[in-house]
Every structure is written in C-alpha cells, then in structure tokens.
C-alpha cells in the first residue's frame, strides 16, 4: 500500500493519476512512491488546497525530484497562503540547495521568500541578521562550487535589494579571489559592487561607460588589485579584462599602464633583448597601447607574435587586428572597442 493511500490524514483525497494515460511505470518502489505523491499533489492542486499537509507533500516530492518547477510554485503559494514561517523555510531551502547545486528553481524560490520577508525587516539590527545569514549561506554554496551562476546572480539581486555596497561584501568577494584568483564570477561581482556603489557612482551608468564621478582613489585601488592578480596568474584572462574595464570607467588611456605591461613581455626587436613573453594577454594589451600611441610597427610585431606563436588558435582574430592597424584606423579602433558606450 502506498504512503499516502495508507495515511488517514489523506483519506479524504482521491489521487489524480498521470493524465496522458501512462500506466507502464517501473516496478521500482522509488518510482511508485514518486507517482503516488504526484497523484495526491494533482488532487490537492485541483482542489486549490493550501495547508500544512500540502507543505509536507511538496517537501516529499522535492526530495524525490527537486527540478519539478510546478511543485516549487505550488509550495510557495501554499507557504504564503497559510502564513508559514519564512525563516524556517529558508533553513530548509538551504539544505535542499546544498544537495542540488545545479538547481535554479531554488534560487527564485529564495528570492520570493526574501521579497516576502522584506517588509517585516524594520530595524538595522534585523537587516544585519538577514544580511549575515544570507551571505553565510552563499559562502557555504561557494565552498562547493565557487562559480555557481545562480548563486552569483541571486547575490547581485540581494546586494541591490539590501544596498550592500559595503566592506563586508567586498571582504567576502576578496576572500573568494584569495582562494582562487581565476574565479571569473568573483571578478565580475567585484566590478559590480565597485562601479555601482550609489555613494560615488553616477546612477544607471552602464558597465562600458566612462563615469566621471568615480574618485581617483577607487580607480587606483582597483588597478593595483588587478595588477597584483596578473602577477599571480599572468595567463588568466579575468584581471586583464578587469583592468581594461577599470581604465574605461575612469576615462584613462591604456598607455598609462605601459610600464606595468612590459614587465611581462620582451620583444626581439628591442636591442639586445631575447624574446620572452610571459603572458599573451599582456602582449595583446601592449599591442593596444602601442596602437594608441601611434607606434604601429611595434603593435604589428606584437599581433604577429600572437597569431604565429603565442595564441595560434585565434590566428584569424590577430590577423584581423593587424589589418585594422594597417588601415590606419589604429587609435580609432582601440577607441571604438574600448570606448564604445551604447546609449
């Protein structure tokens, strides 16, 4: 006899079977359990029932199949209908999230819960409690998968909602970068919290746009941070992309970092120097610097080395760049690529 069939609490309900008429279910007990539970849920949904037993039922089904989005939605509507404790729900969701890393229904569910909780958060102390517990939980998730896209996009939503452009948030992101300097998600989040901080940023300034309000101290700090990261992992794309992004935000020329970039690159054309390239991204960066400065021959040499030797798989791209140089669109191109802001 099935779990629900034999449960007196569910005597009043007639389960609704799968409606496409399938009857060939596996003889595996696990599968029978799932189909029975789904039958009772269909009946509850048809009757629009919202109750504790429905919560228990959805919890059971989620434990068997956490990806069934209809079940999550019905659970949420039941929670709100019967005014169930959101904090308890969050604790339960934490467990499910830890066991189901790839599931993203959970994160939208979480967002619904926090949205529901938000009006009742009245004091700064209460706010801090939620901030710390959410950050703590996200850190637990990142311990298992530091690049979980759903958690990062939830995190961004959370930062905006609770205005967490603060030290605690920055420290948390830095800790992740300390653990893995190549974590592109953490770099992306850092850019977000630095260049969207309402205290010193132009509201609604786009990511690719120059923002004249940003203090030099912030720009310098970010540049130093990214530079340090390039020394730690010269061939990692993230800090190089980051550097370019920061320079653009601050309206600074790439050439301001020429001395830094040449530490990674020695070109054969320079007198007495043996070729030594410790980062293809540095070479790419320098090609743009020399282009910016009008030193076309050096820029071309760098791009040739990239296409022929240091990044052969993208040869067509490097050849295209050389072509753009020769067309004399040099500085214009760098300006176009880096400075194009889309209104």
């Amino acid at each position: 006899m099935g779990i629900y069939e034999g449960d007196p609490d569910w005597d009043d309900v007639v389960p609704i079977p799968q409606d496409d008429g399938e009857s060939a279910l596996a003889q595996i007990a696990y599968s029978d359990e799932y189909s029975e539970a789904m039958g009772y849920l269909r009946a509850a949904m048809a009757a629009k029932e919202h109750s504790q037993r429905v919560l228990d039922l959805t919890e059971h089904i989620i434990s068997l199949n956490p990806a069934h989005y209809t079940v999550w939605l019905y659970r949420a509507s039941t929670l709100f209908a019967i005014n169930s404790s959101i904090s308890n729900e969050l604790l339960w969701v934490n467990e499910v999230a830890l066991e189901n890393q790839k599931n993203y229904q959970i994160w939208h569910h979480r967002q619904l819960l926090i949205d529901h909780l938000y009006p009742s958060i009245s004091s700064p102390a209460d706010l801090k409690v939620v901030e710390e517990s959410e950050r703590g939980f996200m850190t637990q998730m990142f311990d298992q998968d530091s690049k979980n896209y759903h958690v990062w996009s939830y995190r961004q939503w959370f930062v905006r909602k609770f205005n967490l452009f603060n030290d605690a948030e920055m420290k948390s992101v830095e800790e992740l970068l300390r653990k893995d300097i190549r974590n592109n998600s953490a770099w992306s989040h850092r850019f977000f919290i630095v260049f969207n901080d309402p205290i010193y940023c132009t509201p609604d300034s786009k990511a690719m746009e120059y923002d004249s309000k940003i203090p030099d101290a912030i720009l310098d700090r970010e540049i130093e941070f990214a530079k340090a990261a390039t020394f730690e992992a010269p061939q990692n794309q993230s800090p190089w992309n980051y550097l370019r992004g920061v320079l653009r935000k601050g309206g600074r020329k790439l050439a301001t970092l020429e001395c830094f970039a040449v530490e990674f690159v020695k070109l054969p054309s320079e007198e007495g120097k043996e070729e030594d390239v410790r980062s293809s991204h540095a070479l790419d960066f320098l090609a743009d610097v020399w282009d910016e400065k009008g030193e076309v021959r050096k820029a071309d040499e760098a791009l040739t080395l990239l296409g022929d030797k240091y990044d052969r798989i993208r040869k067509n791209y490097w050849d295209w760049r050389r072509g753009m140089l020769k067309q004399g669109e040099g500085t214009g191109l760098v300006g176009k690529m880096e400075g194009m802001s889309v209104k």
Binding site: L25, L112, K147, W152, N184, N316, K343
Partner: protein
C-alpha cells in the same frame, strides 16, 4: 521525448583518423528516447519533456531525417501541453512557462503545424493570438525584460524565448520592442559579454539569448561586435572545444551557444573551426548514437542537438544548414 541519458558514451578512441559523423546511430538514438518509460529518469526529466522533443526533432531535421519522428503524435503531444491561458507547460499537467511555450511553437513551426494551432489551440482568441497574448503578458512593462511565468523569475533567456516564438507567429507587434532592446543593451558588460540581468557575469548562454533577441529585433547594430567577438573567441581552449566562461571546462553544447553568437555577429572565423569540429566528433558515440558534453561521458539529447547544430555552423558535410538564431 525523454531526457534519459545514455546508454551510449562518447568514445574518442574508437574513431578512425578521419572522424566521421555517425548519422544513422544518432537517428536511432533519438527515436529510442521516448521508449524508455520504464526508467525512473524518464519521470524525473518530465519537467523538460517538451524541450527534449524540440531538441530531438531539431537534431533529426539537421541530419536530414525530419520524418523520423511521427508527425501526428508530435502535434498531439505538443497541443496537450497547452493551458487555457495560451501558454505551454513542459508536459501535460505542468504549469505554463515561456521556455516550453517557445519550444512548442518551434516544434509546430518545424513540422508545419501552425494551422493545427489555429484550429485546436486554447486560450483567449485561440491559435496564434492566444499564445501571443500569453507571451505579451509576461513582459515587465517597466524594464522591458520578460518573466518566465506568473511567478516572475526574470532572465535574458526569456527575452529570446518571447521574441523567437512571436517571430514564428508573425506577431512581434504585441510586445514593446524598444524597451526589450534597451534592457538587453543595459546588460552589456565591461568585458563585452552579457549576463542574465544588468551587471551579472558574462555567460555564453546568456550572450546567445541577448544577441539572438537583438537579431530578431533588427538591432545588431547595438552590439560591440569586435569586443564581444574577442570574448567569444577566447572560449576556445587548446583541445579545440569551447567553454562558457573564462576558466571553466569546455562543454560541447557551447559549440552552439558560442558558435551561433559568433556567426550572428559575423565573426565565426575568429575561432579555429576545424579544431572545434574535431572536438565535437570526439564527443559522439558512433555505435549507440548521441553526443556527450565531453569525450568519455554519457550521451544525452541536449548535447546531441547542440553538437550537430555546431557542426552545421561549421558547414560539416552531411548536416543541413541551420539558422544561427
């Protein structure tokens, strides 16, 4: 069409030097998927059933075997997923959602059954109109993006779902195109990519959605193609495959998300095509059929369709042409 994985495995070592596309095994693999109802995984992937059908059918069309799945049953199944609000769920009894509504329309268009939708479709106004009303109702009137369903989860993928379905129904006029376009533009990141919402990490899947949507809107002029193309070209790793973000593992499905994004902005040649094709073929099981995410893993229909679509972009012989969007 279930999403049960396997039984095949990608076996790079079993292939001859000249890598071949094993068309017949792939066709048989796709045909066999719905017959595995005795497996638990069949039921656990029910929430993706309509997507699975779309993936399988698309793969068959690309392999030049559009009739390999029974047309009438396909139409019947798709229509049985429709709700009274005009939207489609993943399977009968599953709530309506944009993702499945898009798959439903794509399938019906592929098997030339939009007339059946007119005659038998549910919802206010019936047919194409009802579906378009459902979709239009999901647009965020303030920001221009789209929710996936009444519960409001927003994601740039849903913008593409909406525009893709509406363009097939010739009813793009029901949405605020300018707002949708502005929203996508606000998602352009410092590295040239796009994320799920403004400021979120650039991700190849989200980029595909944003670029695809802009293409349907006729506004690819708003994309910094050189910068995006550069970021996308960086997805190719030494082994030839593509990843979705910097420092992540390559996965054969990115052959499509990245490949078609590059194709849409005219820069597919910025990656090494032959190297990619070789990698894709290493992900196939030439005996049992199907493709896996990377060599040695278990195959599934999702990776199968995106591998074949990737090969089509690369103009691999034996594969039909695919529209990048």
């Amino acid at each position: 069409m279930s999403l049960v994985s396997g039984p095949g495995r990608a076996t790079a070592t079993a292939l001859p030097d000249e890598l071949q596309l094993a068309i017949e095994p792939h066709v048989k693999y796709i045909q066999s998927l719905d017959s595995r109802k005795d497996e638990l995984e069949y039921w656990l992937t029910e929430h993706l059933r309509l997507n699975g059908l779309y993936w399988g059918l698309t793969a068959l069309h690309l392999l030049g075997r559009p009739d390999a799945l029974p047309r009438n049953e396909t139409i019947k199944f798709v229509l049985s997923c429709q709700h009274d609000n005009g939207g489609f769920g993943a399977a009968p009894g599953h709530d309506a959602h944009l993702l499945y509504t898009c798959s439903a329309i794509q399938i019906l268009a592929m098997v030339d059954a939009l007339d059946d939708l007119e005659n038998l479709g549910k919802g206010e106004g019936g047919g194409r109109v009802a579906v378009s009303k459902y979709i239009a109702g999901l647009q965020n009137q303030e920001t221009g993006t789209f929710a996936g369903d009444e519960w409001g989860e927003e994601d740039t993928r849903f913008i593409l779902c909406a525009l893709n379905a509406l363009s097939l129904l010739h009813l793009l006029s029901v949405v605020d195109m300018n707002k949708a376009v502005d929203y996508i533009v606000s998602c352009a990141n410092f590295d040239g990519g796009y994320g799920v919402s403004p400021g979120t990490e650039s991700h190849s899947g989200q980029i595909y959605a944003c670029v695809g949507a802009l293409r349907i809107a006729g506004r690819l002029d708003l994309v910094n193609k050189d910068k995006l193309g550069r970021w996308l070209s960086e997805r190719q790793v030494e082994a030839g495959g593509l990843n979705g973000r910097p420092e992540k593992l390559e996965d054969v499905c990115y052959s499509w998300w990245v490949g078609s994004s590059l194709a849409m902005i005219g820069r597919l040649h910025w990656i090494d095509g032959p190297k990619l094709a070789k990698y894709i073929l290493k992900c196939q099981d030439p005996k049992e059929g199907g493709f896996a995410d990377r060599p040695g893993d278990t195959v599934d229909v999702f990776h199968t369709v995106f591998s074949i679509a990737g090969l089509s972009l690369l103009e691999f012989p034996g594969v039909e042409d695919v529209d990048p969007c």
